[in-house]
């Protein structure tokens, strides 16, 4: 007999009743998503993991207030994006260079941070990911305004629809549409040499 995995909503309800195992299942299910969104926005592994952890801590503390008015993933995205913004401001206040390079060595710390950039499994994709185009694109992304980076990550990395992005960013669908168009135009302008 095929076992049916509980939905996010069911897990949340269990977690709201104090079931930590259900919350752990939620974390297992969405940790990759949270870390990646944070990483795409911050381009710093350590900060991305910290932001993702903070996001789950906040989720845990706020479980009682979650009424299911939106999907759990939408809520999680909201939190991660907000925390990433806070981290950005924190960097900015301290004059830290926000732009990160993929070529920069990874700080492994005590070994727990030794995760590597995940390689796509498709050999063809591996080749593509390694191209100079993607490297340049990544660098140019970090130079985009934060708002542009957010919509592009939510759309192309997380593959959210415009309506969901609007909920995450608390703006209108029209704003999302125009912002994505402007972000791509800015990126196209920045990458015109590579695109030609």
């Amino acid at each position: 007999m095929e076992s049916v995995l509980p939905s996010d909503r069911e897990l949340i309800m269990q977690a709201q009743r104090g079931d930590d195992a259900a919350f752990e299942e939620l974390v297992q299910r969405h940790q990759r998503r949270a870390i990646n969104v944070a990483f795409q926005l911050l381009r710093n592994e350590e900060d991305a993991v910290e932001v993702a952890q903070d996001a789950f801590v906040r989720v845990y503390r706020s479980l009682g207030g979650f009424r299911g008015e939106c999907e759990f993933t939408t809520w999680l995205h909201q939190i991660v994006v907000n925390l990433a913004r806070n981290k950005h401001r924190w960097w900015w206040r301290r004059g830290r260079e926000v732009t990160m390079s993929l070529d920069a060595p990874v700080e492994a710390g005590d070994g727990e941070m030794s995760q590597q950039v995940a390689a796509p499994t498709d050999p063809a994709d591996v080749e593509l990911a390694k191209t100079e185009f993607v490297r340049t694109l990544e660098r140019k992304m970090t130079e985009l305004p934060r708002k542009f980076r957010e919509v592009l990550v939510l759309r192309n990395v997380e593959e959210l629809g415009y309506e969901e992005i609007a909920v995450v960013l608390r703006c209108s669908v029209g704003t999302v549409k125009s912002r994505i168009a402007r972000a791509r135009e800015a990126l196209r302008e920045a990458m015109k040499d590579e695109l030609s």
């Binding site: 930590d20 752990e24 974390v27 297992q28 940790q31 990759r32 870390i35 990646n36 990483f39 795409q40 592994e45 991305a48 993991v49 993702a52 952890q53 789950f56 801590v57 845990y60 503390r61 993929l102 727990e112 941070m113 030794s114 995760q115 590597q116 950039v117 995940a118 796509p120 994709d125 593509l128 990911a129 185009f133 993607v134 694109l137 990544e138 992304m141 592009l152 990550v153 759309r155 192309n156 990395v157 593959e159 629809g161 415009y162 549409k177 994505i180 168009a181 791509r184 135009e185 990126l187 196209r188 990458m191 695109l195």
Partner: protein, 301 residues
């Protein structure tokens, strides 16, 4: 019909599949005829594809254990004072409103009560420096009472404060210690001599006692011992408040001294209270004199 520029604006949403059917059809029709827009579309698709292929980060193996360690170890997030004071609003605001009301009523009550208490404080502060060394521990207590008059806290029986026979020296002392009334006389809030009383040279004592019945009984006993009589007892709610006693003029000083001794034996606090204008009753034809004894219940805390 949309222009190239309008189509360009829609290309991004076209790539994402977010256009309505009508607009999408129009864009498709335009793309079939416009090489420039097709190139632009190809660039946007390549960029979108590139963003989707950006390197990703795998969660560290200890992400979940570390998270749960934090959840168990971390105290509740620090709240701002607004959260602390007002949230949840539905619970805290009504409770706080009631608390404010209670405090306000309490402050008003204490303010009123404090005035009565101040009367007693002032009574005990008008002491007689000419009275010599304290005749009893109670008198020392009375002097201490200047700073902290809490007569009911320690004594097995409530404290009693009375005024000794007034003398000119004492009147002078009182004048020095008490604030001057407009007439130039020291004014005791608790012991003002009425004009009528003054004309009759009525001597007035005050007895502070938490148990008025005990005080009354004590006065009655002493009155008998000096061959006097209780003329009148005015009661307030069943508890004696004012007593008027008639004593042989020659026994007044003795009566007062005995009352002091009685209270001193009982280990009670004593203090002098007197109106500086009071003069001892001077017997003329009749060797009897009246004393008014006011029984004051000290404020309890």
């Amino acid at each position: 019909m949309m222009t190239c520029r309008q189509i360009e604006n829609e290309l991004s949403a076209y790539v994402d599949g977010e256009l309505t059917d009508a607009v999408r059809s129009e864009v498709q029709a335009h793309l079939g005829a416009c090489e420039r827009c097709r190139q632009r579309l190809a660039q946007l698709e390549r960029l979108s594809d590139g963003v989707a292929r950006l390197p990703r980060l795998e969660p560290p193996p200890r992400f979940v254990p570390d998270l749960f360690r934090r959840l168990r170890a971390r105290p509740e997030p620090r709240q701002s004072w607004v959260d602390w004071v007002f949230r949840p609003v539905w619970l805290k605001l009504p409770v706080e409103a009631v608390a404010v009301l209670v405090v306000a009523v309490g402050v008003m009550f204490l303010a009123q009560h404090g005035q009565k208490r101040e009367q007693c404080v002032r009574c005990t502060t008008i002491t007689d420096p000419t009275a010599g060394a304290p005749t009893a521990p109670a008198e020392a207590e009375a002097r201490k009472g200047e700073a902290m008059p809490a007569p009911t806290a320690v004594a097995p029986e409530p404290a009693t404060v009375l005024s000794p026979a007034p003398t000119k020296e004492r009147a002078g002392a009182a004048r020095r210690l008490a604030p001057a009334a407009p007439s130039g006389r020291p004014e005791s809030l608790a012991f003002k001599m009425e004009a009528a009383d003054k004309s009759r040279a009525l001597d007035r004592l005050s007895v502070v006692n938490t148990n008025p019945a005990v005080a009354e009984q004590r006065v009655r006993t002493l009155v008998k011992t000096v061959r006097g009589s209780v003329v009148e007892v005015k009661q307030d709610g069943g508890a004696p408040r004012n007593m008027r006693v008639r004593l042989p003029a020659t026994e007044v000083v003795k009566f007062k001294a005995q009352l002091v001794e009685t209270n001193a034996d009982a280990g009670l606090k004593l203090g002098d209270m007197m109106d500086a204008a009071m003069e001892p009753a001077k017997p003329k034809e009749e060797p009897m004199t009246d004393l008014e004894i006011r029984i004051i219940v000290p404020p309890t805390r």
